[in-house]
């Protein structure tokens, strides 16, 4: 039994939050349940923004159209996580990808899967920027970003 040191206070602060994704966010997340990834279009610069946004951050105007983008895309960057912290979503090692889905002008982030991580140095060499990846959807979907299990490398003709 260790003795407590005087003047050293340890506490875990739990502060419950309930955030709303806002009407645009809610619509985007609902679409995930139907295996649809949606973007919104800026009327000025015509970029397709994914995840769907209420307004274009650059032009500062409301987006006007909703479009469906592919669940296939190109890997623009990635990393392999090999460290731990409180509340981490997965136990390391694991891969995260920065993915530009076909038809989207912005990238978004998700797990990369289907790659052998038993030797992480080797795995890092196997993952290539420019690789084509596709979403692996969960069977049971709840309208969360994790309705996609991860993105897997694919070969296309």
């Amino acid at each position: 039994m260790s003795e407590e040191v005087v003047g050293v206070v340890s506490e875990t602060i739990s502060l419950p939050y309930t955030w709303t994704a806002g009407p645009v966010g809610v619509r985007f997340l609902k679409a995930l349940k139907d295996k649809k990834i949606m973007g919104t279009v800026c009327p000025r610069c015509r970029r397709v923004l994914v995840p769907a946004r209420r307004f274009c951050p650059r032009c500062f105007v409301d987006t006007t159209e909703w479009v469906k983008v592919s669940d296939k895309g190109t890997l623009k960057s990635f990393t392999l996580i090999n460290y731990s912290f409180t509340g981490q979503p997965k136990n390391p090692p694991y891969l995260i990808g920065m993915i530009q889905l076909d038809k989207a002008d912005t990238c978004f982030f998700h797990f990369l899967g289907g790659i052998d991580l038993s030797n992480i140095e080797k795995a890092c060499k196997e993952v290539k920027i420019g690789m084509r990846v596709q979403a692996l959807w969960k069977e049971k979907r709840e309208g969360k970003i994790t309705d996609i299990e991860h993105f897997e490398p694919i070969t296309e003709r």
């Binding site: 502060l15 419950p16 939050y17 309930t18 955030w19 500062f60």
Partner: protein, 389 residues
């Protein structure tokens, strides 16, 4: 007309446009979208484009938002994409002060002060305000926003003979005034008795002595003289500002001798040439989340003598019909979007000067006072004097 300081002239700066959300509960937009809304509205009202905003100072808070580095979340929502935008945390009034300094410096001609909060996203406000306390001495006692205000109120009753009835008059006035403010959160036609009979939350504070926890956002656009005159026919000129802070530990302070507020008011009055505040100020928007505090702040703002806060409210001086209406908007007892509330007070003080306060417009307004505060029992205070010339 310039103010002189050593080596130069001080620029004249004015508030040229303001916008607020309809403050309330469970607003459906995210904080990011609320900031976008008030920014877009401010630009529309002033007929400006996003590139006319030279710099942005936001005042959100990480704990309140549940996100680290809160301002990154809404950086571009405040027309900030690739702009020099920064954050003065916790109190919209401090964001305003910093925006003012940026324009005064001459490096920027326009600046937007903006804030938003969604109190509804936090299940336990008191758990959050308990976190204002240091982990060693004050936190384990469970002190927070309400309890510290209550201790202050009890002392006020004891030392100055302020009564719960006098404090209740502030609640009646505030919630009643709110009927004439389309942006207000809480409105109610109540009596002193209703306040006295409401549930004791932390003696002597009853439920109706206490602010709500609101969702809301506010934006205030300021501009240097040349720009201001082009943007609007009736700018609200910034005549004097001051802000100051008390010692941290509640026990170190005399909770009734709020030096920080006296110093802040003194600075603002000094620059603005206010020697007799109760005569020279036409309307005041004061940040008083607890009824008793409004009376205490009257005294420190020099609207009455020490210990006379109760007397002022008894005489009806601060009613809409009185000589110095305080909180025609309904104040914080009606609307309390914590980190944004300072900007709301400033916005309301500006609206009065610009003649745009609608149904709660006071007549013949030439000089207004805006006040904000944050921290337990009001640890840090800000005072701004605005005028129509």
């Amino acid at each position: 007309m310039f103010k002189k300081f050593k080596g130069g002239h001080m620029r004249k700066v004015a508030i040229v446009g303001v916008a607020q959300t309809n403050h309330g509960e469970n607003l459906q937009q995210t904080v990011r979208e609320l900031i976008y809304d008030v920014t877009v509205e401010t630009l529309a009202k002033t007929n400006l484009a996003k590139d006319d905003v030279d710099t942005v100072v936001a005042s959100t808070s990480d704990y309140w938002q549940g996100m680290g580095c809160s301002n990154v979340f809404h950086y571009d929502a405040a027309a900030g994409y690739l702009k020099d935008s920064t954050k003065a945390e916790e109190d919209g009034a401090l964001g305003f002060m910093y925006a003012y300094m940026r324009v005064l410096s001459g490096h920027f001609d326009t600046a937007l002060a903006v804030s938003a909060i969604k109190s509804s996203e936090i299940s336990s406000i008191s758990t959050l305000t308990n976190l204002y306390c240091d982990p060693f001495y004050q936190r384990p006692i469970g002190l927070g926003d309400i309890s510290s205000a209550a201790i202050q109120a009890r002392l006020y009753m004891h030392r100055c003979g302020i009564t719960e009835e006098q404090a209740a008059k502030v609640s009646v006035k505030s919630l009643g005034n709110a009927f004439y403010n389309p942006y207000a959160h809480r409105r109610a036609r109540i009596t002193i008795d209703d306040v006295l009979k409401s549930r004791v939350v932390a003696h002597p504070l009853k439920e109706l002595d206490c602010c709500p926890a609101s969702d809301g956002a506010c934006a205030v656009l300021i501009a240097s003289e040349d720009k201001a005159k082009k943007i609007t026919d009736n700018p609200a000129w910034i005549k004097g500002v001051g802000w100051s802070v008390e010692s941290y530990f509640l026990g170190d302070r005399d909770l009734l001798d709020v030096e920080a507020l006296r110093v802040a008011a003194g600075k603002a009055y000094g620059t603005a040439g206010i020697k007799d505040p109760s005569r020279q100020i036409d309307v005041a928007e004061i940040c008083a989340p607890y009824s008793f505090q409004e009376l205490l702040w009257y005294e420190h703002l020099g609207l009455c003598g020490v210990g006379e806060g109760g007397k002022l409210v008894d005489e009806g001086v601060t009613e809409m019909s009185g000589a110095l209406p305080v909180n025609p908007s309904g104040g914080m007892l009606s609307t309390n979007p914590y980190t944004a509330r300072g900007l709301v007070c400033i916005a309301e003080a500006a609206l009065q000067l610009m003649g745009k306060a609608g149904e709660h417009q006071v007549s013949n307004v030439k000089t207004t006072l805006a006040h904000s505060m944050h921290g337990l029992a009001g640890q840090l205070h800000s005072v701004i004097i605005l005028s129509s010339d």
